[in-house]
Structure formats: structure tokens, C-alpha cells
């Protein structure tokens, strides 16, 4: 276990029948660090994130968060421990307003509304929701104020739509709602699973700026992303996976130039194989968005 890591996963393994989707992966994230995981489709990135965030159970391995063992906790306990994640295809609550969606992110922090008394807690929770003592009202008002503040960080995109159901929002706005919901959890670590999936170029740039802002707030972030442009610009460190294993790890520049990474993406080890191939791995070019999708 590397010292000083906020989150450290060691020997994470997940088998599906005969296939080893994630094979003995180690992953360490320091407080305030931005770590990206890249790799071709089917490399095991999302499976790895699902294991770390409790969506799936690992066959072997161990995950520690701030020295606490959180291996194979249920998603609910993960949330309580401070792990917040977004989903690859976006999972907002379609019939709930933007406000309610983000308020669900506050759920683990409700104290007055959710009494922790054993046995009678269910009755108390209903009674408090009916009677609404001052403490419950103050808590709810504070949470709503906070949600407005979080949503306001997305500029004028969401604020006017706070009371609209999210099914009426654009795809990009739904992704924003999802990130806002994750931030409302006050996460110790934020796991973003392809936040720009399915976005066009301008939306991608906008999402990159949002994630950049999150990084500058000093948050600890774990990112899966296909679009290398974003990964290269934002990451402190990059981990490349292929066939369930880590094939390279280090600074963005070092991983980008690693022949094993290039081979995994392109099927051959030398960059000289063709001009488009080289271009697709270089940040800042127009091809950066597409390459591996």
C-alpha cells in the first residue's frame, strides 16, 4: 500500500466465466490528484470502476479509502463512505426535476430528516416528514441553497431549468445534472465514467472546462475517458489498461509515448504506421475526439 494514498486498490480481479475482465490491477490516488484511466474498448476500465464503486463484486483484491477497508461494500455504503460516481450512459431520474435530482445527491448528508434511532427510526422519519420541525425545515432549506450554488457553477445552463423534469433536458445538460448530483454528495473521491461520451465537439470542450474547474477546486478525481485530448490536458497521472491489465502508468506524456499503449490502441507498436494514427494520439488536433470510439 503506497503511503499517502487517499484511495488505494490492490490486486483487483474480476472473472466472468473463463474471461478475466480485470486482472490484478493496482490503483492508487493521492488526495487532490487527478488520475485518468485510458484503454481501448473492452480493456476493463468500466468493470474496474464498477468494482471500486461497489456496483460489482470483485473476486480478489482490496480497496482502502483513507485507511478504511471498503472492499465490496454495497453502492449505498460506498456513497456513505464518500465515493461518488457518474455513469457512462448517464442515469438521471427522468421524471424528477433538476432540483430533486441533485437533492438525491444530498441524501447521505441528511441528519434532521433521517433519524438514526434504532427500531423506531422508520416511524420517526415519517412523522418528521409530516410535522417538519424547525430543524428539518432548516436542513432542507440549506440543502436547496447548496444545490442552487452547485448548479450555478454550470453557468446559465441549468439554473433557469431547476424545476424542469430532467427528461426535458438536452443530453449535455443531463450529464451536468449527474455531475451536480455527484458533487452534492460532498465526495472524498469523484469517479467520472466517460463524461463526454456521446457529446459533440463543442459540448466536449464545455465538459472539459467543467472537469477542469473541478480539478482546480482541488478535488480528487478518477476519470475514464476515450478522448485523449481531455486526458492529456487535465491528468496528473495516466494509467493505461488493455485486456484487464495495466500496461503503462505515469505522466500523460510518458504514457502517450509508450509503445505498448500505442500498440493497444492501434494494433501496431510504431507511430510510423500511418499519419492518422499519430494524429489521433496527439492532443489539440481535430482528430483527438474520435480516434478510438
Amino acid at each position: 500500500m503506497s503511503s499517502g494514498a487517499l484511495l488505494s486498490a490492490t490486486g483487483v480481479t474480476r472473472r466472468f466465466g473463463g474471461i478475466i475482465a480485470v486482472d490484478g490491477v493496482d490503483l492508487h490516488v493521492r488526495e487532490g490528484e487527478f488520475l485518468s484511466v485510458i484503454g481501448p474498448n473492452g480493456a476493463g476500465k468500466t468493470t474496474l470502476f464498477n468494482l471500486i464503486s461497489g456496483q460489482d463484486r470483485m473476486d480478489e483484491g482490496r480497496v482502502m479509502l483513507e485507511g478504511r477497508d471498503i472492499t465490496n461494500l454495497s453502492p449505498r455504503r460506498m456513497a456513505e463512505a464518500g465515493v461518488a460516481r457518474t455513469f457512462q450512459h448517464g442515469r438521471v431520474f427522468g421524471n424528477l426535476s433538476v432540483m430533486d435530482n441533485v437533492l438525491i445527491g444530498c441524501h447521505t448528508r441528511l441528519r434532521a430528516a433521517r433519524p438514526r434511532v434504532p427500531v423506531v427510526a422508520p416511524v420517526l422519519e415519517i412523522l418528521r416528514a409530516l410535522i417538519r420541525p424547525a430543524s428539518v425545515r432548516a436542513e432542507e432549506a440549506a440543502m436547496r441553497e447548496e444545490v442552487r450554488a452547485i448548479v450555478a457553477t454550470f453557468g446559465e445552463r441549468l439554473t433557469p431549468r431547476l424545476d424542469e423534469p430532467t427528461y426535458a433536458l438536452s443530453y449535455a445538460n443531463r450529464r451536468r445534472v449527474e455531475i451536480a448530483r455527484a458533487l452534492a454528495l460532498h465526495p472524498r473521491i469523484l469517479i467520472l465514467d466517460e463524461p463526454t461520451a456521446g457529446m459533440n465537439e463543442s459540448e466536449t470542450v464545455e465538459m472539459r472546462d467543467i472537469v477542469d474547474a473541478l480539478k482546480r477546486q482541488g478535488r480528487t478525481i478518477l476519470l475514464i475517458e476515450h478522448k485523449l485530448d481531455m486526458v492529456m490536458r487535465l491528468s496528473d497521472r495516466v494509467m493505461a489498461m488493455d485486456n484487464g491489465r495495466v500496461i503503462a502508468e505515469g505522466t500523460p506524456a510518458a504514457v502517450r509515448d509508450d509503445p505498448k499503449v500505442i500498440e493497444a490502441y492501434l494494433g501496431h507498436a510504431t507511430i510510423g504506421g500511418g499519419e492518422p494514427a499519430e494524429a489521433s494520439l496527439m492532443p489539440g488536433t481535430s482528430r483527438a475526439a474520435g480516434g478510438v470510439q
Binding site: 456513497a79 442515469r91 424528477l96 415519517i126
Partner: protein
């Protein structure tokens, strides 16, 4: 042990296999339909009944021999099956996955009512001449009826196999079951496949109806739901869309029932079926014959609540509505007041179900069980000497607790399985009431329940009783509305929309489903208890499956999750028919048609879903 060994086990095995092969005929049809159309056909029991009566017309009224009767019955059942597909399934065009299931409930009610109208409500004999010999085997024997039924079932299964594996349409059916979109792209006419499957299932179900009629020498228009449930249990045992599994499941269920009856007595027959059903759903939801871990069923939470904004009537309009309702007794028509009292009792039940089915997304077809628990609790406690006021509150609390505990196994189920699971739980409650004679007086029911007197004040005569019920409706509607605007409201709706995402943000979905069931159980228990004191007599059948379906219809009409909508719809569905004699006479027809038309034309309900 000696006495158990001396039972005629061979005869029990024979009757188990014979009844089991009939269940298998039902189950094969359900499995085929589940395979291609991805729904449980609740009208399948009605096809069985139709088959029995077509058989009666052919064999008794027309005097045709059995070899001519069977194909005619199959033809009749096939036509009815195809009709169900054409009327209930095709127009829905897959708008949501629970919708066609509800539509088939509607069609089933309509078909049953038609049989009632044509043939009356009483059972009839179905004598089919059979040779009198029996073959002795060891201590037991096999008769020609047993052989006829078994052979007919085997021939039907063989014909089905030949169809599925030897014809082009059969290949299309199998392809559609595997991947509907891919089949469509290859030019398979999905409508034709669906109709063929419904027709085949109908033919098999109708033959099953005829065979049961011959076996017991009696046909009964009131068995549709029971036999459909048996078929459903069989496919749950066999693995839903697994056709050979359905045959195995049917025979296994037949044997379990037969041995169970041998050991515990006939009144436990259905209890076994539902206990097996619940056990299977919890332990092996993919069926006994599933190979390892199969593809998880797609999540169906929230799929019925259509994205819509509910209508929010202004406060003054609601106040005006309540005031108008309070003035109803002043019209001086006691009958009208009684009808409205009954309608508002349904409203109270519907408010509680709209929380569970609408807000939380657990579409329950067993809600009457909560009413029954409340009714029995209050009836038994007050007969034992508790004042009625305390009895009502205690009954509500007991229902909240017991209802939540009973429904708890269904919390981890999804989509169709919730519907099946709640149905099974509802039937189990009814059967426990029937069989727990020392507590509930069994099939005799409970007499002499004290009238509604609260703190010495009369609430049993027509007008006070009306105002009491109206008051309860207003109070519980307000309480529920207040809950919906709290953190509980958004948490419940989030669970309905996406349970996985809600859990990921720290929401304990089972705990919050439990809270919803607790509150709904309190409301429903109160509704049942008040009903019991008004009727002064209740039995295990006072709150039956039809009650559950009726409450669900009200909830859908009002708009899932919509409290005001539930009250308005209760007045329309439970009140209106009683004011017109014709509607009251053909009540089931009215309910069935209402359900069918609603699902088809206004699935979001009158006031929109919340």
C-alpha cells in the same frame, strides 16, 4: 410413519401427473407468449374457461363425440387467443412493458363476464362417456380418463414441437423470442408471429379447460384466475420463456399439489402453489432448469410512469370539491350516500396503492390483502372487547407492520415479477385466512362485527358513516401529499426511476420501499377495518383478486402516483356503475373495458402521473 406409508401413493402420483399435464398445457401457452411478447397473459385463464364451455356446447348440447370436440375446442380457443392479441396487445405497440400485462387483465375480465352472461354463474356438469374399466397397478389404478388426458397433453406438446421446429412460422417464432429487432430486420412479420403464438396458446389453454371439465365432470365459470395462476407458477418453476421447462414445471406443480393434499388436506392445495411460487421467485428466479447465472432481466422500474406533468388543481377547487362532497347526504337520497361511502372507501384504498404502485413503482396486484388484514384485525379485536376506535387504529398499525413484512420479499423483485410476487402474497393471505380456522373462523367468516361507534358517537347510520369516510379520505390525502413534498417524496420517485442510481447515491431502496408500504398499509388497513364494521360480516373472499384489480384500475385511471386523481377515479369507477343498474349488473365487463381502454388511450390517467 406407518400411516403415511399406507397412503395410496400410486394414486396420488397418477393424479399429480394428470393434473400436472393440464397445468403444463396452460404453462406452455404462457411460456410461448412470454417468449415472444415478453408479457404474462393474465387473460389465459379466461381462454381456459372459454375452452371448457365450447367443450360443453360440443359434447353435451350438440352431443358430438370427443374426437370431434377436441379440435373444435382448440379452434375456439385459438380464435379467442388471436382475438386477445388483436384487441389488447397489438394496439399498445409496446408503449411500456407492464401496460400489456394490465391490458390482458382487462380482457380476461371481459371474457369471464361474457361466459357468465351466456351460461350463468353456476357450475355445469360435463359428462363425457368413458369406458368403465380401470387398470390395477400395485395398490392403485389408472382409468381411461387419466390416459385420455395424459395422451391428449402429450399429442398437443408433440404438435407444438413439430410446429416450432418443423415449420417456417415456428422458426420465426423462435427467432422473435431470441431477438425481436433482429427478426424484424430479417423480414419476420412480428404481428403474425404474435398472433400465431397467442392462437396456439389459446388452443392449448382451451384444450386444458375441456380436459379439466372432463376430469371433474364439472365446469365452472369462476376458475379462470386460479388456473391462470397455476400456469404462471409452472412457468416460474420452469423458467418463464422456457417451453420444455414449462411442461416440467406443470408436472412438478401437479405432483407437489397432489402429495400436499395427501398429507395436509385439499384446502391447502393453492397455498402450496403460491408458496412454491414465492420461494422460486426468491431463490431461483430464472427457474429450476436455468443453467448457471443467466442474463439478468432488464430493469423495468419506472417504465410504466410515462413522462408527464401531473395536473395540479388549484387549492380552492379542491376545497370546493370537498365541500360539495360533504353536502351529498343533504340531497336526501340514502342510496346515493351509501354508494358514495363505498366509493370513498375505495378512494382510501386507492390513495394507498397509488403511493406504492405510482410513486414507488411497485405495481401490486395483491392490494386487497392489506384491506383484508385490516378488516380481520379490527373485527377480531373489537369482537374480543376492544372499543371500535382503538380497534381501527390497532388494525391500521397491524396492517402497516404485517403488510410491510409480507411484501418485503417482493421488494427485490422487478417489473413483471413484482406483479406476480404481490399477486402470490395476496393469494397467500387469503388462503391463510381461509385455513387458519381457530383465529379467523375459516370459510364461515366473521359474524357480528360491532358497528362503527367512536367514543359513544354513532357513525354507523348512513350520513355519519359517509362523513367519517369522507373525512378519512381528506385527512389521508393531505398527509400523503405532505409526505410527497418532503425528502421522502423525491426519494421514493428516485427509486422508481432508477433503483441502481438511487442506491449509488446512498438511498437504501428496501428501507424506503418499506416506509412507503408502512404508510400505505396504515391507510389501507384503516379502509379495510371501516369496511368490516360497516358490513358486520366478512370472510376470506370479501377482499379478493377482483378488489385488487379494481383498486389498480382506479389508480391507473387517476394517474399513477396522483392522490387527487385516485379520489376522482374512485368516484368514477366504484361509484358510477352503482348508479346505473345496467352497469352494476355487468360490473366486471365495465371494469375490464375501462382498464383496457385506459391502457390503450390514456395510460397516464385522467390527471396525469406524478
Amino acid at each position: 410413519m406407518g400411516s403415511i406409508l399406507s397412503l395410496p401413493w400410486f394414486d396420488f402420483t397418477v393424479s399429480g401427473v394428470v393434473i400436472g399435464s393440464i397445468y403444463a398445457l396452460m404453462a406452455v401457452g404462457l411460456a410461448l407468449i412470454f417468449g415472444v411478447a415478453n408479457l404474462i397473459n393474465f387473460a389465459h385463464g379466461a381462454v381456459f374457461t372459454v375452452g371448457a364451455y365450447v367443450g360443453w356446447v360440443c359434447a353435451v348440447a350438440l352431443g358430438l363425440p370427443l374426437w370431434a370436440t377436441v379440435p373444435l375446442v382448440a379452434l375456439g380457443g385459438g380464435l379467442v387467443g388471436a382475438g386477445i392479441e388483436y384487441i389488447a396487445i397489438r394496439p399498445l405497440n409496446r408503449q411500456s412493458r407492464i401496460a400489456p400485462l394490465l391490458a390482458t387483465i382487462g380482457v380476461g375480465l371481459i371474457l369471464d363476464q361474457i361466459v357468465h352472461i351466456l351460461f350463468g354463474a353456476n357450475p355445469r356438469a360435463l359428462p363425457v362417456p368413458m369406458p368403465g374399466w380401470r387398470v390395477s397397478v400395485g395398490q392403485g389404478s389408472i382409468g381411461p380418463i387419466d390416459i385420455t388426458i395424459f395422451v391428449t397433453a402429450v399429442i398437443a406438446a408433440a404438435a407444438l414441437y413439430a410446429f416450432l421446429f418443423r415449420t417456417r412460422l415456428g422458426m420465426a417464432v423462435r427467432a422473435t423470442a431470441q431477438d425481436e429487432d433482429a427478426a424484424k430486420q430479417m423480414g419476420v412479420n412480428i404481428h403474425a408471429v404474435n398472433m400465431a403464438v397467442f392462437a396456439i396458446a389459446g388452443a392449448l389453454g382451451a384444450i386444458a379447460g375441456l380436459l379439466v371439465g372432463i376430469y371433474y365432470n364439472a365446469i365452472d365459470p369462476n376458475t379462470s384466475f386460479q388456473i391462470m395462476l397455476k400456469g404462471m407458477v409452472a412457468i416460474v418453476i420452469g423458467g418463464m420463456a422456457n417451453v420444455p421447462g414449462a411442461i416440467g414445471g406443470g408436472v412438478i406443480l401437479g405432483l407437489i399439489e397432489s402429495y400436499g393434499i395427501a398429507l395436509f388436506g385439499a384446502s391447502y392445495r393453492n397455498l402450496f402453489a403460491f408458496a412454491v411460487l414465492l420461494l422460486m421467485l426468491l431463490v431461483k428466479p430464472n427457474g429450476l432448469f436455468a443453467k448457471g447465472r443467466e442474463r439478468e432481466a432488464e430493469p423495468m422500474t419506472g417504465t410504466f410512469v410515462i413522462q408527464s406533468m401531473p395536473v395540479r388543481p388549484p387549492g380552492w377547487l379542491l376545497a370546493l370539491g370537498v365541500a360539495a362532497a360533504a353536502l351529498v347526504p343533504l340531497a336526501g337520497q340514502p342510496y346515493l350516500t351509501q354508494v358514495m361511502t363505498n366509493a370513498f372507501l375505495y378512494a382510501l384504498a386507492a390513495i394507498s396503492l397509488t403511493l406504492i404502485a405510482g410513486t414507488v413503482g411497485l405495481v401490486s396486484i395483491g392490494h386487497a390483502a392489506l384491506l383484508a388484514i385490516g378488516a380481520y384485525a379490527s373485527a377480531l379485536l373489537t369482537i374480543a372487547g376492544l372499543p371500535v376506535a382503538l380497534g381501527l387504529v390497532a388494525a391500521a398499525a397491524i396492517t402497516a407492520l404485517l403488510g410491510t413484512a409480507l411484501a418485503y420479499p417482493a421488494f427485490r423483485l422487478r417489473g413483471h415479477y413484482v406483479a406476480i410476487g404481490t399477486l402470490a402474497i395476496g393469494e397467500i393471505v387469503s388462503l391463510v385466512i381461509l385455513n387458519w380456522t381457530s383465529l379467523t373462523n375459516g370459510s364461515m367468516g366473521v359474524f357480528g362485527i360491532p358497528p362503527l361507534t367512536l367514543f359513544g358517537v354513532d357513525f354507523f347510520s348512513t350520513n355519519p358513516s359517509y362523513w367519517l369516510v369522507l373525512g378519512l379520505v381528506v385527512v389521508f390525502a393531505l398527509l400523503q401529499t405532505r409526505l410527497l413534498s418532503s425528502h421522502l417524496g423525491r426519494t421514493w420517485r428516485a427509486i422508481r426511476e432508477d433503483t441502481v442510481a438511487a442506491e449509488t447515491y446512498g438511498v437504501g431502496s428496501n428501507y424506503y420501499k418499506g416506509l412507503a408500504y408502512g404508510f400505505a398499509g396504515f391507510t389501507a388497513g384503516l379502509a379495510g377495518a371501516v369496511t368490516a364494521h360497516q358490513f358486520s360480516y366478512i370472510n376470506f373472499d370479501t377482499f379478493n383478486l377482483l378488489t385488487s384489480v379494481l383498486i389498480l384500475t382506479i389508480v391507473i385511471l387517476g394517474g399513477l402516483g396522483n392522490v387527487t386523481g385516485a379520489i376522482v377515479a374512485a368516484v368514477l369507477v366504484a361509484g358510477l356503475p352503482e348508479m346505473f343498474r345496467v352497469l352494476a349488473e355487468y360490473r366486471m365487463l365495465f371494469y375490464g373495458a375501462a382498464l383496457l381502454l385506459l391502457i390503450r388511450f390514456r395510460p397516464r390517467g385522467l390527471l396525469g402521473s406524478g
